[in-house]
């Protein structure tokens, strides 16, 4: 049973189907070519026989014109004795043989002169044999029947040989085709089955499995390699997703838990003033949570590219000036130093709100984390135009970020230990990073010696 099933499986494979279609086409063309040859050859031989017969008919007709029936009789008698393959018969009106090497008239209705085919018996050492004949029939004056023809058995035989060859050729083609197709499919199928088996086991949960690559570099091998690349990418993404969801779980659970604890605590207390304060703080905490949610949603939308609708020409230098004007007072009020370096104009293709938001996030970060204990903020905002790029820079003189962490902090919810004590969602830099990606740009965190230098590199308009 398994063998049958395997064969059946082979027959259903696409390679085999392809081989079968090819085979049919090939067999049809072979058949057509051989058939044409067969038909042409037979036609030619037939024509030759007819020509020979026609010549003799001509000769006998001349005799008949000169000497009448007796002349014909003499010619027939003479010719019948020669063994040239010619067939002759002259009979009386009632069909009695007068001369010729044929025994009797063929068993068919002979009404008017013309070409006929018939079968006649030939005495051979092995007994009586039937041969085919091609002949011209005519009726002489007085009702005498005259047949002049040739034994075309050899011609017939020849046709049979060609026919047989044709069938054998077709049969062999079919056999070889089917066999070759099966062989080809089996090899192909074995490799496809290997891929299918791998995919099944990955679906079954063994995510580290990979499709075998045999190094031949053929299309199947390239497909396998591409599948493996895709699987690697999926694994990376899934790992990322798992990290994010466990981070979300942690970072949302913590504030939710605090919120709940506070509400419970207030409920136990009987003091209305305390109730009021607890409620106000609950609202504030809920707002914080919602901000985190919104930031997450925004990042998700930015990463799916949905937010790129409001793009237009934006002067990054002007945005930097506006943002500076918004933030300068608060930094100065804290006794800090604030510097702005911008060119007259730096046009980029962007969403003004998002660029402003990126600046604001970086500035919030600089004010929150970019100040050493006991020191005043020292913040620089700059816009630089170089070689088709526009760089938006927010730099501080704080503790900075260790170089080996500068990629990691852009991930969602990542908060370095030093900043854990301060409020924040851990989404600020992820948000800026996703704004950068949405603008086909990049956020890099450099060492400001000392401090952090956040650089948002975007394409200049027309670059």
């Amino acid at each position: 049973m398994p063998a049958i099933r395997r064969t059946f499986h082979l027959l259903r494979s696409s390679t085999f189907r392809l081989a079968a279609v090819y085979l049919v086409v090939f067999a049809l063309s072979v058949g057509a070519v051989l058939g044409y040859v067969y038909w042409q050859t037979l036609k030619l031989l037939d024509e030759q026989a007819e020509a020979t017969i026609a010549e003799q008919v001509q000769g006998i007709a001349e005799q008949y014109a000169l000497n009448g029936v007796p002349g014909v009789l003499a010619v027939i008698q003479r010719r019948s004795r020669l063994d040239t393959g010619g067939l002759y018969l002259l009979t009386t009106p009632v069909g009695k043989r007068m001369a010729g090497n044929l025994k009797a008239l063929p068993a068919m209705a002979l009404t008017r002169p013309g070409w006929i085919r018939f079968v006649f018996g030939v005495e051979t050492p092995g007994g009586l044999r039937k041969h085919s004949a091609r002949a011209y029939y005519t009726r002489l004056k007085g009702g005498y029947h005259l047949i002049i023809g040739r034994d075309v058995q050899q011609l017939h035989q020849f046709g049979k040989i060609i026919r047989n060859t044709l069938f054998w050729a077709l049969g062999l083609t079919a056999l070889l085709g089917v066999g070759g197709g099966l062989l080809l499919s089996r090899n192909f199928l074995r490799r496809i089955e290997a891929i299918t088996a791998t995919v099944r086991s990955i679906r079954g949960g063994k995510l580290t499995r990979r499709v075998p690559v045999d190094g031949s570099g053929d299309e199947l091998d390239r497909l396998s390699a591409a599948l493996n690349d895709m699987l690697d990418q999926i694994e990376r993404l899934m790992k990322g997703m798992r990290e994010v969801s466990s981070n979300i779980a942690h970072d949302l659970r913590t504030p939710l838990n605090r919120l709940r604890a506070q509400a419970e605590d207030a409920m136990r207390s009987g003091d209305p003033q305390e109730h009021r304060e607890a409620l106000a703080s609950t609202i504030a905490r809920a707002d914080e949570l919602l901000k985190t949610f919104n930031a997450l949603l925004f990042i998700a939308r930015a990463e799916s590219g949905q937010a790129a609708q409001g793009f237009g020409e934006v002067d990054a230098a002007a945005v930097a000036r506006e943002i500076s004007e918004l933030y300068q007072p608060i930094i100065e009020d804290e006794g800090g130093r604030f510097v702005l370096h911008v060119p007259d104009e730096a046009i980029i293709q962007a969403d003004r709100q998002l660029i402003a938001q990126a600046f604001v996030n970086l500035l919030d970060n600089a004010m929150k984390y970019g100040v050493r204990e006991g020191e005043k903020p020292d913040i620089e905002i700059a816009v630089e135009k170089t070689g088709g790029k526009v760089r938006l820079i927010v730099a501080d003189r704080g503790p900075g970020i260790p170089q080996n962490q500068s990629e990691h902090v852009k991930d969602r919810f990542v908060r370095l230990d030093k900043s854990r004590s301060k409020p924040g969602s851990g989404l600020g830099l992820s948000l800026v990073s996703s704004i950068a990606r949405l603008h086909d740009g990049e956020l890099t965190l450099e060492d400001n010696r000392p401090g952090l230098r956040a650089v948002l590199t975007l394409k200049a308009k027309g670059a």
Binding site: A280, I283, A286, D287, L290, K291, N294, F298, R301, A307, Q309, G310, E322, E325, L326, Y327, P329, I330, D333, D351, Q353, L354, A356, Q357, V360, N361, L363, D364, M367, K368, G424, G428
Partner: protein
Amino acid sequence: MHLLIIEDDKEAAGYLVKGLNEAGHVADHAADGEEGLAMAREGDYDVLIVDRMLPGRDGLSIVRALREEGDNTPALFLSALGDVEDKVEGLRAGGDDYLAKPYAFSELLARVEGLGRRKTAEPVRTRLKVGDMEMDLLKRKVTRAGREILLQPREFKLLEYLMRNAGNVVTRTMLLENVWDYHFDPQTNVIDVHISRLRGKIDKDFDSPMLHTVRGAGYMLRA
């Protein structure tokens, strides 16, 4: 004011009606789009508060339909979709203001009252006057009790917005949107610093302060 709330979340609508009643307004409630549109057509409302996602007919198409019929009752959109693009879409459909859920009730109240005032057609004015403070919009000059006060361009804009909304609460978000044109919330309370600087210029040397902080809501300018 007479208000219509079109909102399918009955609980949220209940809080809104209660809050608006307490603030001295009369609020009707429609729970789906078709009912809301019918009520807006029949009733004489000062402001419509319209949720964007509704069963039957969405908020955008309600306001669009009203505008096509020549009904220009101010409309405030409420939506769980908080992005800038969604706001722009809402305003394009004929909405006059947009508030993302969740919102603080004080924010909603300030905006609804702002819209209600706008309906009582404000003539084009070149001078604003609140108490003893005067603003000349053409000469860009501000005086209080006859003394000129020198302001930065942005401070001028900030004061202008406060004067136009004198006697009413304006929230920090409203200021950020209308004076700076930013439609997102910074973590740092940057607005407070600007207000305190403005206060230093318009209130410091005078007996009675005009720029008041409304706790938990925003600011108010009054004589």
